[in-house]
Structure formats: C-alpha cells, structure tokens
Symmetry: C2
Subunit: 376 residues, 2 copies
C-alpha cells in the first residue's frame, strides 16, 4: 500500500534531497565538501534569521539540547525550565543529569506558558542563569510566545535557550530581531532532510557563559566547533551525505521563499484544524502550532486503534500521544515537504476511519472544511 | 575528472548503499523500521563477533569514544591510555575533559605498544580502572596486538576499551573470543556507509562500571540505549537513512563472507606496501595495518604537493599526515568498497606523480609489484 507520513519528524523528503544522498561520497576535508559546507552555513543563517554562525552537529536533536546544557552551565547553577510536555521534561532531565538545579515552570499539557509567570519566577530567583523552553512543544502541538518570553528576559542577565527542533521553518522565529540567545534546530522537520543533523546558534552574549561553564564535554564543545569553522570544517567527521541533502533542501526552500514556506505551514495547519472541528473533534492544543495538530479522540474510541486503521487501511501514518496523552490524542503533522492534497488525504483517512470505528461523522465534511481554507 | 577516494574514511559506497539512502524515509517508531533495525542489530553482532548487543549512536566516531568515557568512569578515576598517534591522544583528551586522570603509555608514532610495558604499568598502578587503546591507529597506519593486550588485562580488574573505528571489518577482532570489554566502531570505514553512525558493544562485566560511573551524560547514556532495545528502538530519533544504508552494506558483506572481507583487506594492503617498497619508498608503520598504508615521502619533496598532484592530475585522493606527520607521509587507504584495480589506480598515480616531481622512479615498477600480490 502507498504510504504517507504525517509524523512530526521524520517528514517526507523531496526527490532532490533523497537523490543528493545517493551521490558518491566526498571527503570532509576536501575542496568539494568545502564548497557544499560554505553554502550550507549561509543557508542556515537565513533559516535561523541570524548573522551568527549556525553550528552543525551529527546527532539527533536531543544531542544538541545536551550540547547547550553542557556548554552553557556549571553543576550547581540554577535554571528555569518551561515544562509543558515531553520535551520540556527532557530539558529538565538533561539539566539534572549535569547537576544543574531545575526550577520548573509547570504548564498544563496543551497550554502555553504565561510570560508574566516567567517574569515572576525570574524576579523571585535572581540567580537563574538560563531559561529553557520550546518554540513548539511537539508532544502537545502548542506553540509558545517566544517573542514575549524574550522580552521578559531582556531585563535580566539570564539567557534564553529555545528548542526549535520541530518549529524551525514552520513557525516564525527571527533569532536576531527577537534577541534570542540560543536556538536549536533539527534536520528531519521543516528542513525536509532525514534525521541525523542538529543545529545550534549562539548570540555573542552567550559566549561568556561558554567560557564560565565547567561541565565536561568534548564532542559537543562549542569552542572546538567554532575553531573548525575557521577552516570551513567540522571538528569531527560529519554526516556528509546528510549535509549534501541539506544543501539541496536549503536551495528548494530559498526558491520557495521563506515567507512562503511559513505561510504554507500556516495554511496547512489551519486546514487541518478546520477539518477536525468540522468533524466535531476538539483541538487539544490551546495555542495550536503550525507544526502538528493535536486532536482529541472521542472518548468511545482508542486513539491508537484509530491510528492503526488510518495506517493499515489508508496508508496514512500519524503520531499518537506521548506519555500521559497515549491513547487520547492523535497528532497530524503538516511539516516539511507537504501540500494541500497531502492534508486532504490525511483528513479523508481520518473521517473514513472514524466512521468505520462507529463515530457518527458525515463523510466529506472534514475534507470540505479543509478545502475551504486551501481555496482561499 | 573522475574522482577516486583512498582516504581512511569516508570510503567509497557500493551502489546498493547509495541508493538505500535515496528511498522514502520511514518513521523510526513504525513497523518497517523495526524490521530494518532488527536485521541491523543481528548483522552488527556478526561484525563485532559477539553475542552482546551492539549499540547504534547517531554521531561521529568521536561521540562514541566520549560515550565510553562518560558511561564507564568517574571524575578522579585513573586510566591507562596507549598514546601512539592522533587518536590515542584523543582518548587522553576526552578522559581529561571528564576529570579522569590519564596515565599515558607513550608509543613512538609509527610503532605499536609493547604488551609487556602495559603489564608493567598495570602492576605499578593497580588503581587503573580501564585501558584505552586503538585497534588501528589511523594517523600512523599501525595495527596494535589487541589479543596480547587483552591477555595482559585478564589478570587485572581493569577493562579494555578498544577504538576499532577504522579497523572494524578490515582487521580481525573477535570481541567475544578475545574477551574484549568494550569495542567501538564507525560507519564510514570497512562498513561502507557514509559517516554519521557509531557503534559500541559492552561485555557483561562492563555493566558494573556503568552502574558506578558518575560522569554526567544523557544522549550517550548506555542504560537508556539498552532499555530502548526492549522495544527494538533507539531512545532518540536515529539517522534513519544511514541505518537503511547499513542494512544494505551488512547484506553485501555477509554475502562476501567475513573471512573473505578480511582477506581482501589484507591482500590489498600487501599489494600497496609491496608497490611502495618496489618504488624505493619506506613504509612509515612498523606494524602496518590492513586499513591504511602510511608511506614516507622522499625528503626532497613535500607530501602535500604529492597529494595535490595525485588528486588534481589523476583524480586519486589520498590522506596526508596529521599533526607532527603533516607534509612527511601520505596515507593510502584500502578500506571498504575497494578492489585490486582500485589499488592499481592509486599506485599508478603515485608513481607518475613521483616522477613528475623529480623522483627517480621507474614507471610500472610499483604497479608490477602490486599485480604480483593480486595475482596470487
């Protein structure tokens, strides 16, 4: 059966990206790679909307999160962690593993943090060195107001560290303009390449944190990465075929235009939400993102049963809920190499599957609502 | 110009491996990936010659070296590091970064360590918790006698940690039979896939070291990796396209037969050495490996000039010397997806380039010597 992937990473790959990986490998210290890497470095600056360098790590996104903790802090430091889902929890776990003391700001899953509460925490705990947050909490589908959070931090000495792994490219994040100190991105999301690369960019202010940090690190060491850039290289052998793929995806995205890329994600997200609402379903996320739409499944059916039917019956693979949300929600991504017809296929399989499972939905109603958005 | 890669990683890719990466991406928590990963897990056990699990990390090889240090030791522990080249130095640097005290066993670059001296060090420093070594020190082209080193360790409580990143698959290393505690491998060497994956296998005894280690780690955590294997998964999104490539390469290598793979590397290495000797050149490595042949360049010419001529004139890319060996040696790899005709091309470009640079070599003499080995 023809398979279609609607998970919030990995996301489908354009042909150019797939084929770029299939080329003969080049040596990472040679001239040809230097040309590729130079282009990728510039492209990543555009994606991150910054003039600063964007570091490329061969790792899953979690590795880049660890790199941020290990390079910026010391054991015993205190940090504020916005904890509104599985990835907020991950920030806290990584910090704890490095002996960093976590002051949590717990946010109900499905909600976004209130910048006013962040301000309160920072006022009450002036020793806080950094605030760790997500741009999009992928587990709940919620987008956070990073602009407002960054403004709160301007009156303090603390740095803002944003996990934009799923959000980068799907959600506006002008790193320089909003004065965000650290932004982390991943490869297998809106950037439309396979998993295996993660990215970190740092504001100039952040380097004093790197100088003062005493956490042990070697592979993650930002100073080694920065030094290698002088020779237009990475300090250790990078995932060459993925970097070649990245060059292609950056070309495609530049051709589409960044504003158009963001607008496309917004439009597909709206179409998906409108479809779910038209089918009488509830959106789980109180502030829904353009990355993934988290939909509450009617209580009489199990979300995993619904997912299985969508995949086995119609080739549509969506994500389920994680941890406390397992069996309760499905998450339909509209991320990366996606268009309106892809979303129509997802919505169609959703409505047919719901009917199959005994939910009283009217066939075509969700699709029609999505089409209305797509037509505009 | 047609390019041929003779660097000790990345190495050329078979067509099946290149194309496997170009397939549509699959989700790392889905059924299709589970099938692939199951096959890869079994194949890696065969490569490592062990019944234990082989962990797959999305990282450069250096990351897996860091993982070994971070999981096995605690700050203040003492370890013995065999330091006979750039990668021995790397072990020491990583250990030092984690507060582990390094007792070095310095070996002249180009030589292999004397197991008797390792025994002396272990007797003099009974507190040594681990011995860190390479199987092949890629910077000098030397293979170490891991079997003898492992025997020395049997009378102690210390564990043996072998960086086999470049050697795995090119050099016999029966992990179980030789009772090696930790073996680390890399993807872009004899395994014939692009860089981006690294591997670690642990003996049962080693797990008590993991339990007692207090170094901070999260992404590298061996216990998290082991736990995820219960579900036939990795804890974090892995480099899916590289794992698909790995499945193909493991199939190719199994089809060739492991004994044949090792014999092929031995034969190509011998052909390369014989060719160099026939051209009046010296082999830099006192115990030359089957991974890469390090050749001293006649003092009247610069090794980098020779490399440039080989690459720009004849499309043959070989490695130079690293650190103190820069400009003094060239390193010709016979690693991975290579055959006799590949090595003839490398030797041919070497002898032509030497003559071009004014070295009194007889054209065809190196090639003839290599052919003699290949004909046997």
């Amino acid at each position: 059966m023809k398979q279609r992937l609607f998970t919030p990473g990995p996301t489908p790959l354009p042909e150019e990206v797939r084929l770029a990986q299939a080329k003969e490998i080049v040596h990472h210290r040679g001239k040809e790679f230097a040309e590729i890497f130079k282009e990728v470095r510039q492209g990543l600056k555009d994606v991150f909307q910054t003039k600063e360098e964007v570091f490329v790590f061969t790792t899953s996104g979690t590795g880049a999160m660890e790199a941020a903790v290990a390079n910026l802090l010391s054991s015993g430091d205190r940090v504020l962690v916005i904890r509104g889902g599985k990835f907020g929890e991950r920030w806290a776990e990584i910090a704890t593993a490095f002996g960093v003391q976590v002051i949590p700001l717990d946010v109900e899953w499905g909600s976004a943090p209130d910048p006013g509460l962040i301000k309160k925490k920072l006022t009450a705990h002036q020793e806080i060195k950094a605030v760790f947050t997500q741009l999009v909490e992928t587990s709940t589908g919620v987008v956070y107001d990073i602009k407002a959070i960054a403004e709160v931090l301007r009156t303090t000495e603390a740095i803002l560290v944003v996990d934009a792994i799923s959000g980068l490219g799907a959600q506006s994040l002008p790193t320089h303009e909003w004065r965000i100190d650290v932004v982390i991105g991943g490869s297998q999301k809106a950037l439309m390449i396979p998993p295996g690369l993660a990215f970190v960019t740092l504001s100039p202010k952040t380097w004093s944190f790197v100088e003062n940090s005493n956490c042990p690190r070697y592979y993650w060491d930002f100073k080694k990465v920065r030094k290698a850039l002088d020779k237009n290289q990475t300090p250790y052998t990078p995932a060459v075929s993925l970097i070649c793929a990245l060059r292609e995806s950056l070309r495609l995205l530049r051709k589409e235009g960044w504003e158009n890329v963001l607008a496309r994600h917004a439009r597909l997200a709206e179409a998906t939400r409108k479809a779910a609402l038209a089918l009488g379903l509830k959106i789980f996320s109180k502030v829904p993102s353009n990355v993934v739409t988290a939909i509450e499944v009617p209580s009489q059916i199990d979300a995993n049963e619904l997912r299985t039917m969508m995949q086995d019956g119609y080739g549509v693979e969506v994500a389920g809920g994680q941890e406390e949300l397992a069996g309760k929600i499905i998450r339909i991504a509209h991320l990366g190499w996606m268009d309106g017809s892809d979303m129509i296929a997802a919505v169609s399989s959703l409505e047919i599957s719901l009917l199959n499972l005994g939910c009283p939905v009217t066939l075509g109603k969700g699709v029609a609502a999505a089409e209305k958005v797509l037509r505009e």
